[in-house]
Structures are given as structure tokens and as C-alpha cells.
Symmetry: C2
Subunit: 192 residues, 2 copies
Amino acid sequence: MQDKSKKEVIMDCAAKLFRKKGYKGTSMRDIAQEVGVEAASLYNHIQNKQQLLRESLMIIAHLFTKGMEDVNNTSLSDIAKFEELIRLHVRLSVKHTDKISIITSEWVHLNEPALSEYLQLRTAYEEKFKHIIKACIQDGSFKQVNTDIALFSTLSTLHWLYSWYSKNRDISPVELEYQMIHCLMDGLRIRA
Amino acid sequence: MQDKSKKEVIMDCAAKLFRKKGYKGTSMRDIAQEVGVEAASLYNHIQNKQQLLRESLMIIAHLFTKGMEDVNNTSLSDIAKFEELIRLHVRLSVKHTDKISIITSEWVHLNEPALSEYLQLRTAYEEKFKHIIKACIQDGSFKQVNTDIALFSTLSTLHWLYSWYSKNRDISPVELEYQMIHCLMDGLRIRA
DNA sequence: GTCTATAAGTCGATAGAC
DNA sequence: GTCTATCGACTTATAGAC
């Protein structure tokens, strides 16, 4: 495996600190200390602090967008697509834990025009997710639920996977995928 | 209804801004502008910025703790207690939308000893919630799910109610309670 | 109780030596 | 490419006039 470039090291350290203390709560001096250099040295590899937030966020946003496209390009049934999206979230949460936390809570600190670009990607993603839920209702595999609430409830759980997974690393990703699908699709109660 | 004290006005303005821009992203000048005074004037009513975060957060934490006690002091069945907790979250999210957002994402900026005090309350709350889920499994009303995942999934959805409710104020709180209970307990799929 | 003025510190970012 | 030194803006909070 190729060594990380210095920029990648900086991006990873920044994501780790943004997660722990937030974007505004993390100084360039904090990031420099984590990397092991002085703050001024960071600017030989990056333009500014905002770039660290923007690039981490956009990398993840495009991974979700690409994942959604891949799922929609299959000939799977709608309910199988729904399951595949849950697996996508689990996979990305396990692999990019720190950066995922940024997309969940630090996107508000994005400057324009990156903010609008990000929100457009997110809205498009959510609309496609909702479309699949609606299709599941129409083909009779899902109940006649309020689709907005179903979407919100599903995404809330998936957005916070990263925080839960950090504290429970003993469960395997495959087992986690199975449990999440079961929990979200079938609920808790025995007799519905 | 009694008029709000100046301190309450400041607390509400601060909560609103903390929600929008985060604790670290909100300056005392921002809060002062929202209140309609100069920044220095705030200090006649409050001690410091940290107090604004701490008090808002503790008010909500104690409302949840009190709500959990009330539920556990009833003679309801365990599954009815679970439903009652969902109603508690919906009720508090609707009534204290801004302050709830702080407890979800800004608690990391609490200084000690308030941070430890808050985490202790939160852990105790989660343990009691988990205990009710376990009781529901034991009495046969819930499936044999992973209780940690069931707890996490339920709380994630409930924690983000406030953000969803802000954008969908057309649904009534009572209808929202019903939909949330149905969604979390019965899932989406028709045949489990 | 509100204001102006300001202290004392931290922030992101740059200049220039090496 | 890293460092030291520093700029200018912004931060929380206080002092003291009114």
C-alpha cells in the first residue's frame, strides 16, 4: 500500500479533531500538533482551514451519491435496493468513521458556494431514498407509512451509526448490517 | 402568562443561535445582537457564555430524567412504558426545539464538572431505557433483538426529531407521536 | 441596567530566514 | 518544506461613566 501523502495525513488528523471538538472548536495549531509540525507548515500542503472541511465532506458526499447510483443501476427489487442502501451506510460508516461524523454535524460550517453544492447533493440523495421507500409501499412490501417519517427515521439511525460503532467495535460489520436491516425493517414488536 | 425575565430572553436567544451556528460558532456579540443590546450588557444577567450552554443543557437533561422517573413510577406494562417514552421525546422536542438541539450536538463543549454531571445523567437515562427494552423482550412483547442496537436505533431517531419537526410543522404532535411509535415498534416491512 | 472603552488572549494566515 | 515571528481581526470578559 502506498504511503499517505502529507496532505492526506493532515486531512485525517483534521477529521479526527473536527469530530472530537467540532470545526470551530479546532484550531490550526491543534491540527498542527496532531500532525507533529508547526501551524505555519500546514499551509505548504493546504490552502486554508475551510478546505479541510470542504474536501472531507465532499469526498463522503460523492461516495454516497455514487453508492446510490450503483444501487439504482442494478435490477434489484425495490426492497432489495432499500437493504443495499443500509449496507452502503454501514460500510461507509465503518470505513470512514471520522469523516462521516463531519457530514453529520459539521456541514453547517461550510462556506458558500460549497454549502449549496453539498445541500444539493444531500437533497438529491434523500429524494432518491424516499423514491425507493415509496416504490416499496406501492409494490406491497412496505406498509402504508408516512414516507417522510420513514425516511427521517431510517436516515437518523444510519447517520448516527458512526458514533455507536466507535463504542462497539466488537460487533462485525456484516453482523451490524444484518441487525440494522432487521431493526429498521421489522421493528421491535412481535405482533404488528 | 408572566413575562420572560431578561435572563430567560438571553437564554432563548443563545439556544437559538447555538442551534444554528454551534456553541463555538456563536459569539457573545451575536447573542447580544439577537437580544438587542451590547455584548457587555449581557453580563449583568449572566455570569459567562459557558453558563448559557450549561443551564440550557441541564434543564433538558433533568426534564428527561424526571420523565423517565414518572414513567417508571406508573404500573404500566413494559411495552406501554416504551410507548410513553417515545411520547416524552416527542413532547419535549416539540416544546423545547432549540434547547433539544443543544443536548444532541453541543454537549461536547461543556466544561468540567458540568460535563461529567451531564454524562452521568445521560448514561443513567440510557440504562433505564435499555432496561425497559430488555423487559419487553423477556415478557414476549419484543423480538429477541440486540438490545444495544435497538436502544441506539430508537434514541438516534428520537434525538433527531427536533430537526425534522422544524421542517414539518404541519403534522400535529399527537399524529407525530402515533407515527413514531408505529415506525419504531413495527418497522416498515409487511411480512416480518 | 446599559453603554463605551479596553484588557488579555486566541484565531487564521502570511513573510521571510534557513 | 519547516521553522520563528508576527500581523490584524476577533474572542470573552471587565472597568467605569452615565
